[in-house]
């Protein structure tokens, strides 16, 4: 469904992606792991057009991501940002229903609010939260609101950028379970980037290890522990010694 073909991206002298090639099959949950600053977020943002690749091709359902009707293209995606990226000036329900109140998916305000409350309930938040502002919520609640916003328009593809960063282990577990349930329930294709190995085991069907701007290893999550790949082994066991330099 999503195919990266030899994608390159540099920021000044920093070559972040050096020929990223990866297939994300339809309906699967792919988790991309890798150290900080290895280009995981850049890889996601290249698909959405937030970052323009220097070279290479990204195909979504066989069509180049950069071509065609942009609004229709983006309408197929939902994204949970690392920090939530909720709009401070809008109450929670308007954050969740943002896409449903504008553009091609616009519907009556009352309907949009009803859907927002239903999605909030789906992520374990009560309707009372709907009229609060993001600044009034805890980090875990903000993540859940971000998740509700990502699924509000029932997208075919959902991106999760570091979904458990900054959360306590219990809340991280709740978010992981929610992501897994929602992906299975919606039949969506999911791409998650994280370096939280608990999340990887909870969310992934397949895992891809990004290091040095390329995919070092990819395969089913069940084969991750027996891959024999020294980069992957070092990363998943959190060892300081190995082919990945501890100080980068």
């Amino acid at each position: 469904m999503i195919r990266y073909e030899d994608v390159h991206k540099s920021f000044g002298p920093n070559r972040v992606l050096r020929g990223l090639t990866l297939d994300v099959p339809r309906g699967e949950s792919m988790v991309i792991i890798g150290g900080s600053g290895t280009g995981k977020s850049v890889a996601l943002k290249c698909v959405l057009g937030l970052v323009e690749p220097d070279a290479g091709t990204i195909l979504v359902d066989g069509r180049p991501a950069a071509e065609g009707d942009r609004e229709a293209f983006l309408a197929r995606f939902g994204m949970l940002f690392q920090g939530g990226a909720l709009f401070d000036s809008l109450p929670v329900w308007q954050n969740v229903a943002f896409r449903l109140m504008r553009g091609a998916l616009k519907r009556p305000r009352a309907d949009a609010r009803e859907i927002a409350i239903e999605k909030l309930r789906r992520v374990g938040l009560t309707p009372e939260v709907a009229d609060r502002f993001p600044a009034e919520l805890s980090g875990g609640m903000q993540k859940r609101v971000g998740l509700a916003r990502a699924i509000a328009a029932d997208p075919a593809i959902i991106f999760f950028d570091e979904p458990t960063t900054g959360l306590d282990p219990i809340m991280a577990g709740v978010i992981n379970d929610l992501i897994r349930e929602i992906v299975v329930e919606m039949g969506a294709t999911a791409v998650t980037i994280t370096h939280d190995m608990t999340s990887v085991r909870a969310i992934a069907d397949r895992v891809a290890m990004l290091h040095g701007g390329i995919i070092r290893w990819t395969g089913p999550v069940a084969e991750m522990d027996t891959s024999g790949d020294p980069y992957l082994d070092q990363f998943i066991h959190g060892r300081a010694e190995g082919p990945i330099a501890a100080v980068r």
């Binding site: 990226a85 709009f87 401070d88 504008r102 553009g103 998916l105």
Partner: protein
Amino acid sequence: MTRLLGGIGAQVLAVLAAVGRVAIFAAVTLRHLVTPPFYGREFLGALLNIGWLSLPVVGLTAVFTGGALALQIYAGGSRFDAEAVVPQIVAIGMVRELGPVLVGLMIAARVTSSIAAEIATMKVTEQIDALVTLSTHPMKYLTVPRVLAGLVTVPLLVGVGDIIGIFGGYQVAVRSLGFNPATYLQNTVDFLEPLDVLSSLVKGAAFGVIATLMGCYSGMNSGRGAQGVGAATKSSVEAASVLILAANFLLTGVFFSA
């Protein structure tokens, strides 16, 4: 010597590049201004924030300036027995120059800084990226409503500021300097011409666009983190203030050079 010239050349190129980027940003804003979709709710919010909520600061600035102007003209005019010109000079000074410029600078301080800080914070917290993923163009959603609101409300604020400034001068002249109220008002009305008022409103519109555009530009192009937000806010106010003063000079030349 070569190094010095090279340094000067690099600075000149940097300034020209910045001017070019602002010009492109303005052109893109104009394009989005005339093509749908339009976000009415955001426009109304910007009208409220830029127009209505700026009224207190604009009113206070104008009333004190008008009062001080009356005192200064009276004191200066008394040196050559020209105290009687206070109403005329207060009126022309407020309407042609002080009203638009001071309102413009107050808007730069209050609105430009707030827009830059808000949009820069949205940028560093990925809210602008989130807008894009939600199929919403940031220029249409953030920039166009604010610039349009600046274009509409700042001339009105300038008009209000002119009136309040004249009122401040009137109060000082009548209460402290012994002017006859009716004569003062008659002299004010008789002396002002339609071109004075038109120039004031046109300057207000230009300053409104400059103030909001520079706030949006600096916010959208801010660096990372708290330092980036701070730098964007500072540079937006600096740029807007200088551009407002430069535009005032140019517009004064256009209206009154002959």
